[in-house]
Amino acid sequence: MKIAVQTEAFDLNAEVVALYQANPKVGAVASFLGLVRDINEGQGVSTLSLEHYPGMTEKALAQIVEDARQRWEVLDASVIHRVGALRPTDPIVLVAVASVHRGDAFAACEFIMDYLKTRAPFWKKEATPEGEHWVDARESDDHAAARWGR
């Protein structure tokens, strides 16, 4: 299991290969890449700054992955989240889950993303030509996490 919070970009291929190459039981790897969207749609370049709570972040992410392991057959998993200054089309987060079958891999990967969105202490601030503002939490993220039950 790999949990990382970092400013650097990550290599999707390297992370996914690391989950399966040493384990011939792995039949499925589901992965998710979250990217900075250009919500201004070309109206000037916007940037995003990501802040986090060092220590709690890693603990929260490890707990979310552990929760996923309790629910589905997870052979290995990686969660990498970037912090610092990012621009449109930059990758923000990678979640990858290796399992025997695809159903477990998909479910665990989506579960981890939904919980990360509502429980991992990251905050986004957006800078546009009109000024800076903190990004609001989305109610739809609470709904997405709630549908997994407890």
Binding site: G34, M56, K117, P121, W123, A137
Partner: protein, 85 residues
């Protein structure tokens, strides 16, 4: 009791502080008590921490409910709803 308070993101900016280590009065036994005590500072403290405002609290890096008990040297973090991912 001494607790370590951390503020993040918008609340860090509004409170104009990232952390403090106050000595709380004896009647502060739970997180709810601590929040009451902070609200007594008035101004942005009363406003941002008002009951019903959307903020989260972690004690020793775990998200907790308002009735959580506090202990000497606890790390209490107060922050807006998270927006990662």
């Amino acid at each position: 009791m001494k607790v370590r308070l951390l503020y993040f993101a918008r609340l860090r900016e509004v409170f104009a502080t990232a952390q403090e280590t106050p000595e709380t009065p004896a009647n502060v036994q739970t997180l709810a008590d601590l929040l009451d005590w902070l609200r007594q500072r008035g101004g942005v403290w009363a406003e941002e921490l008002a009951v019903g405002r959307a903020y989260r609290v972690a004690v020793n890096q775990d998200l907790v409910e308002r009735d959580a008990a506090l202990h000497e040297n606890d790390e209490v973090a107060i922050f807006p709803p998270v927006t990662g991912g």
